[in-house]
């Protein structure tokens, strides 16, 4: 094979005698699309926080809009030029472009604002268009004579395959198929296959011929071999990488990435040779070269991330890297290629060619320096002003290109006649006047209409907000107008979320377990909040802050926003790290004097139902509080400390004392000593004695005192279940109090968590005697405790046996009114799973439900 001089694009027409011709008018139109998308990218970056999903939109306007359109145009163009194939029917190419752009708009709209189905449909069309494109390229190659450049087409086809895979993954993401860690892994795979497959493979394939042309040097003899080797490594590497990320095999993914990197190294060998032969000397060459260097850097950093992180965290770790990859690699390769190709494609004669080339390369050194100085600032952990400087440098450089490209495109659109055509002064005047008026109208209507409402701060309130399972909890926060709300936002989900309020406050993107605090301005009007991660708002991750007394009159709207009234998802998984309240009841300690300290903690956040964490008021940080156990006649000395944020008290039903002293309310920081002798056996309630008691009890301030009856027989296992109602929402908030007053709990709990023991079953063995103690804390409902499949042979209720083991009868329910207590005993007949429920079925289905997992003895 002999070295060959090739020329794509930038070939100045040989002389003035050559007739002026337009090379391909549809290229002109199509590249205007790319330039328009680039302009839109700059606009998206500038609009930033004003958009519903800023990060996602920026990435996809650029990659799916500008880059994918450009790839579709140029890969077909190169195939035709390199294979000397017959120019295909331009209508088909234009149809594909039209479809692609319509689908892109659908995806952007569907994810950012509309229903997810639009986005999924758009993704499907994108995949179909790209596959069609690949088929078209293959047919072009088949029809062409076998040439030395046919290997390039293979790269384009493989790239299209990668986008098909990436597009399918994107569609799945948009449809929210699979939550949590799977979502994160899918996202990582989606990003990798699209960036390194669709963009990376296309770029590598194109550079084989584009790079020597840009450098005006000869094509290396090794090109063909390098290309074959590169493709043989990169494609399997990419497959392994994507598959490994998807199915959670970190080392497979890492091996894939290393293979891919080896492939790119092989492919870059002839390119490096070309640089050795001829130093880059044009703006296009330097820009392209810089792009390739950033590609390699990104590849190395990416490899480090994939090797050192579990696959579920790859997407999160890649996030900060993304601006660098997009700006440094993709944008620069795109800009460099356009710099080189646009003048040739636009045609218009040698004079016009030179004029266009000179226009596009104007100030390229400054632009290149600004861009490559700015790009690393986007990814490095530098202070915010520096990041903003980076954005300014990158965007200004990009915007300068867009303006210059638009100038050349406009020039191409107007006939190349000598003499300057001036726009008519009337048109110019009308335009200027309209622009001025429009600007004034924008100023006039900005900030809403009506007199300004300056809201005076009247108080402060802190609300715990959790993000989990595509929900923001609480979904409605009510506060008096003027309240300065502080939201402590915690992401308890396995995937990343954030919270953004319509008034502009926002948290950073929170990884699993991370928290952030938002402080709002004094509450005036209702404020909406949502998660800005693409698609999450549509999936229901919304909230609303409502000033009390300004409830919307239409009841329907209230219901719509009152998502918190929706039934709890009791089958949902508990948050990672959740530990159930230990229901095992330990025997009474020895001695007849017991000293206990009980400390109020009313700021603790606990998981009250699967995936639902909210603030509760507690004794010693748990719901129910600590269990006190002793024998008849024992003396309990309780040191009661108010470590909370408001007044609290304590009332032990088991003791006999005048309430005035020990049951009084004490203020935060105070303590009292409550001494009582347990004169009577039974399962007793204790609870906070501060009014309104309904709120203090409903929010978790209760516990049990167990005084063994004198003749208590031995049991193999003893458990204690304290039943209680669950009211979602900020403790003491108006919304919660209304539900409490109207007797509308959101759920029912055993030991402080609705359906907690469904997720952490209680253990027993067949044939063992199990004693289940129960206290009904209420505040308003009792319990009808029942174990499915195992009748009770002993029932002790409120100080007396109603049934003993040697009686012929049996019992099906331990029936307790609010504040009553007792126990029931049973022997599980055989191994199995036995539900323990409140047989008031509404309560059982609302969370008063648990399981006994009974094993073989």
């Amino acid at each position: 094979m002999t070295p060959v001089e090739i020329s794509i694009g930038k070939r100045p027409p040989s002389g003035p005698s050559e007739p002026v011709r337009r090379r391909a008018p549809w290229h002109l139109r199509a590249n205007a699309l790319v330039v328009a998308w680039l302009g839109l990218t700059v606009a998206t970056a500038l609009a930033g926080e004003g958009l519903p999903a800023p990060r996602w939109l920026l990435i996809h306007v650029f990659l799916l809009g500008a880059v994918t359109t450009a790839i579709l145009i140029w890969s077909e163009h190169f195939t035709v030029v390199l294979l000397r194939a017959q120019t295909p029917d331009p209508r088909l190419g234009l149809t594909r472009l039209g479809l692609l752009n319509a689908a892109t708009v659908a995806v952007l709209y569907g994810v950012a604002a509309g229903p997810a189905t639009i986005a999924v449909g758009g993704a499907a069309v994108v995949v179909a268009v790209v596959l069609w494109h690949a088929v078209a390229l293959v047919r072009l190659a088949r029809r062409a004579l076998p040439g030395r450049f046919s290997h390039v087409v293979a790269w384009y086809v493989c790239a299209a395959g990668a986008l098909a895979a990436g597009g399918v993954l994107g569609g799945l993401l948009a449809a929210q198929a699979g939550g949590g860690v799977l979502h994160e892994r899918t996202q990582a795979a989606h990003a990798e296959v699209n960036l390194f497959g669709w963009v990376g493979l296309t770029v590598l394939g194109t550079l084989f011929t584009l790079w020597p042309t840009v450098l005006r040097t000869r094509l290396s003899e090794r090109t063909r071999r390098a290309s074959a080797m590169g493709l043989r490594l990169t494609v399997p590497g990419l497959t392994l990488l994507t598959g490994g990320l998807l199915v959670d095999l970190r080392w497979v993914a890492a091996a894939g990435l290393v293979t891919y990197a080896a492939g790119t190294a092989a492919a870059l060998v002839p390119l490096v040779e070309a640089v050795r032969a001829r130093r880059p000397h044009t703006g296009a060459a330097w820009t392209l070269g810089a792009g390739v260097v950033w590609f390699e850097i990104a590849l190395v950093v990416n490899a480090v991330i994939v090797v050192t992180r579990p696959t579920g965290e790859v997407a999160g770790a890649l996030e900060p890297l993304l601006p660098l990859v997009l700006a440094g690699f993709v944008a620069q390769v795109l800009l460099g290629s356009l710099l080189h190709l646009l003048p040739a494609v636009l045609g218009g004669g040698p004079a016009r060619f030179k004029e266009n080339a000179a226009t596009l390369e104007r100030g390229w050194t400054v632009r290149l320096a600004a861009f490559n100085l700015g790009a690393p600032l986007l990814a490095l952990p530098v202070p915010r002003p520096l990041t903003l400087l980076g954005w300014a440098l990158v965007l200004a450089s990009g915007a300068a290109f867009v303006v210059l490209a638009a100038v050349t495109l406009l020039r191409a659109a107007t006939p190349a006649t000598p003499g300057v055509r001036r726009p008519s002064p009337v048109l110019a005047g009308v335009t200027a006047g309209c622009l001025l008026t429009a600007a004034a109208v924008v100023v006039a209507v900005s900030g809403g209409s009506g007199p300004a409402t300056t809201v005076v701060a009247t108080g402060a309130k802190t609300v715990e907000v959790t993000l989990s399972g595509m929900r923001v909890r609480p979904s409605v926060i009510e506060a008096a107008p003027g309240t300065v709300l502080t939201l402590r936002v915690t992401n308890t989900d396995a995937q990343r979320h954030d919270l953004r309020l319509a008034t502009g406050e926002r948290t950073p993107l929170l990884a699993a377990g991370q928290s952030a605090t938002l402080t709002l301005k004094p509450l005036g009007e209702a404020v909406d909040g949502w998660c800005t991660v693409a698609g999450h708002r549509a999936a229901g991750m919304t909230m609303r802050i409502v000033p009390t007394g300004t409830q919307p009159e239409a009841g329907t709207e209230h219901k719509e926003h009152g998502g918190m009234m929706s039934p709890l998802d009791l089958a949902a998984p508990m948050s990672p790290g959740w530990k159930p309240y230990d229901a095992t009841l330990r025997p009474a300690p020895g001695g007849s004097e017991h000293a206990v300290e009980i400390r109020v903690d009313d700021r603790v956040v606990r998981e009250v139902a699967p995936g639902v964490r909210q603030r509760v008021w507690t004794f010693n940080g748990t719901v129910p509080g600590p269990v006190l156990r002793g024998r008849v006649g024992d003396v309990f000395t309780v040191t009661f400390v108010n470590g909370g944020s408001m007044g609290h008290g304590i009332d032990f039903h088991a003791g006999a004392t005048a309430p005035d002293g020990p049951m009084r309310t004490i203020q935060p920081g105070e303590r009292l000593v409550y001494r009582f002798r347990a004169d009577y056996a039974g399962a007793w309630l204790y609870h906070c004695s501060t009014m309104p008691m309904s709120q203090h009890i409903a929010n978790g301030m209760y516990g049990a005192v167990i005084i063994d009856p004198p003749d208590l027989a031995r049991a193999d296992r003893e458990y204690l279940l304290v039943s209680g109602e669950l009211y979602l929402g900020e403790p003491g908030s108006d919304a919660q109090v209304v539900k409490l007053r109207e007797g509308r709990p959101d759920g029912w709990m055993f030991n402080g968590t609705a359906a907690g023991y469904d997720h952490a079953p209680l253990e027993a063995k067949a044939g063992e005697r199990v004693r289940i103690w129960a206290v009904a804390a209420g505040p308003n409902s009792g319990t009808a405790l029942h174990v499915v499949g195992a009748p009770f042979d002993t029932v002790y209720e409120e100080g007396a046996y109603r049934l003993r083991a040697d009686d012929p009868g049996g019992a099906q329910v331990l029936d307790l009114a609010p504040a009553q207590g007792g126990f029931a005993e049973l022997v599980f007949p055989e191994p199995g799973t036995y539900p323990v429920v409140d047989h008031l079925m509404r309560n059982a289905e609302g969370g008063a439900h648990g399981l006994f997992r009974v094993g073989v003895r």
């Binding site: 110019a428 005047g429 008026t437 109208v441 006039a444 300004a452």
Partner: protein, 145 residues
Amino acid sequence: MTWWTVVRFAHVLSAALWVGGQLTVSLVLLPLARRLLDVERRGQVLRAVGRRFGMFTGAVFLPVQLGTGVALAWHKGVTWASLAEPGYGRILAAKLLLFCAVMVAAALHGWATGAKRPGLARTMAVTALVGSVGVVLLATALPAT
């Protein structure tokens, strides 16, 4: 009917004369002059019309608009701070800014005519005209109470 009605009447009438005058010149006088007069005559007539209109602007229109405008704003209780607030204040502020821009355009028109730059002069004249209509639009957008 109070004296404030008279002030408001003067404000609106003066504005109508100015905007209406520009519209009449642009839409009625100019086309007719182009059709009926030769180049020299046309230049003469239009320069004279322009000068007269400029005089009217400086001697009558601006003093009346500024005087009545400030008085009306004072009567309405507008303060510098309230100009920034959304609603009446901000619409008024936008209207004033646009009015200033229109005055700049009108001044540029006068300068460009003198400096023999007919293209710029015409552009500025149309800018001022369209901007004036915009001022009227914003005036009608001011809340009535």
